[in-house]
């Protein structure tokens, strides 16, 4: 359900770590809650963010969500394809619809994130509370 090769945040982002580069996207739960995605606003390559900063937004017809980076670092690549095809986020949130690739300055920041299993549990709790 939630790919094992990713770590997850409370704000429903995922990060796939390859060495000191992280690929970041939003989870299936996030895209489902938003509904049909109509627009994605992504940063410029070279922008640098601290862990927890918002780096972009994802929009449906009636809602906008900020997306937050779980790690401190510089953006090295941005998924240009989402400009023309935002619907990819609904179709393939973990694969083709990655959002940005970033350098990871402090690998220690990854320790506070959820594993796939813990994220699934977190979601169960969230749903129960509603």
């Amino acid at each position: 359900m939630y790919p094992d090769d990713c770590l997850y945040t409370k704000e429903h982002e995922w990060i796939r770590v390859k060495g000191n580069i992280g690929v970041i996207g939003i989870t299936d739960y996030a895209q489902d809650s938003l509904g049909d995605i109509v627009f994605v606003d992504l940063p410029e390559v070279g922008e640098r963010y601290d862990a927890g900063d918002p780096f972009g937004t994802v929009e449906s017809v009636k809602a906008v969500s900020d997306i937050y980076t779980p790690v401190t670092g510089e953006v090295i690549e941005v998924n240009e394809r989402l400009k023309e095809e935002p619907e990819k986020l609904n179709e393939d949130p973990y694969g083709e619809a990655w959002l940005i690739k970033t350098k990871i300055e402090n690998p220690g920041e990854l320790e506070g994130l959820f594993t796939a299993e813990k994220y699934a549990q977190y979601l169960k709790k969230e749903d129960a509370e509603k």
Partner: protein, 490 residues
Amino acid sequence: MNQGRSSLVRDEKLIFELSKPGRQGYSLPKLDLSPQPLEKLLPPSYIRDDIAGFPEVSEVEVVRHFTRLSTWNYGIDTGLYPLGSCTMKYNPKVNEQVSTLEEFAISHPYQPEELSQGNLKVMKTLEEFLAEITGMDRVSLQVVAGAHGELVGLMLIRAYHDFRGEKKTKVLIPDSAHGTNPASAYFAGYQVEEIPSNSEGRIDLDHLRQVVNQEVAALMLTNPNTLGLFEEEILQIAEIIHHSGGLIYCDGANMNALMGIAKPGDMGIDVLHLNLHKTFSTPHGGGGPGGGAVAVNRALEPFLPVPLVEKGDRGYYLNYDRPNSIGKVRSFYGNFAVMVKALAYILTMGGEGLRLVSEAAVVNANYIRKKLAGIYHLPYDLPNMHEVVFSDKIQAAKGVQTIDIAKRLMDYGFHPPTIYFPLIVHGALMIEPTETESIEELDAFIEAMKSIAIEAEENPELVRSAPHLTKVSRLDEVTAARKPVLRWQP
């Protein structure tokens, strides 16, 4: 059952698609003097070739085109328009008539004051009436909409604090507020801190006491609030904010509940805006023009936008000598023709009449609440004022949501209420009937809502796929947002 029906509704292309070279829709006299060559009057490279794509149609086609378009709309003159927070009351036709009196319509804003005494009298009289109705000290009519009034009100608050050398950075806004409130605060240069409503849908005083501090420039509130509930503790709220040096801004969109009953000026409100196109019956026009007013107490008066209308020995005049004014917030003086309509309305109703308006507005909303309670979920089952908020909780169990109920109402011949606002109610249905609805119209609406509730139980798909009887069914808003087409291209 009162089903919506239409007689023949014709389709109509875009005006550009009806265009044919050589067709003419205008009638102008010939030029009555000898023209000079255009190249002599303008640099040739600045003379335009043609207005590519502009229509060429006959007058008949223009009239048919827009007449047909109008038949696809629903207005207050069609039927109940229970949009909560919008106060869609009847727009008196005589007000339209007097606003088009020639001497008003041909007045140029820069014409001499001696030729504008009528205009200035209209403005000054309306200002005074609005001050009386709200219990405030001075009114400016320069703002042209509610949101404009909010922005200006916050600018006045900022000017007040700046004048006293006090640095304030935050505005407190309840989570039930209209979206224009935080947006206006942002454009006034403030940070917004949202304060949660309590279980009774009102401002939580304990929480307020905790968050208020020297950084707070103001609390923006709506009273009655967007749930239609009066903030009973308003005097204590005002005391808390004033005590820490802040001011109270009141969003006056809901004034229709209070006229002749209570005055914001007595509640500790420092500044409020009014919507002439809501409470004071001027037409909404499909999204404007509106008319606004900003009403202030003495402390904020020096900062009002310039000019102010004054009466002197030689008549009315525009006073620009206001050294502490925030400046101008609009060119000229405001939406004058809208002011004429609002003035006409107040003159027609009188003080007693306005009180009857508010009473009837509150009775009508309570009647709807009583009749639909139990059939639709009432998140706050408390005596409401001029509007009432339901939610789709009962129907959602069958997979029918607020949006579906709204669309199905169209098939019954009614415009839906406001939906999904305020945000603190999930699936909100905000109903404001206003005082100009008869008991028969209200009963018809109630019957329609009851029928839909039954349909939601017995035939939910019918509701979920509504509307069925309108010219178009639900539109693809996703594609419209993904691949926006915002103009015609040949």
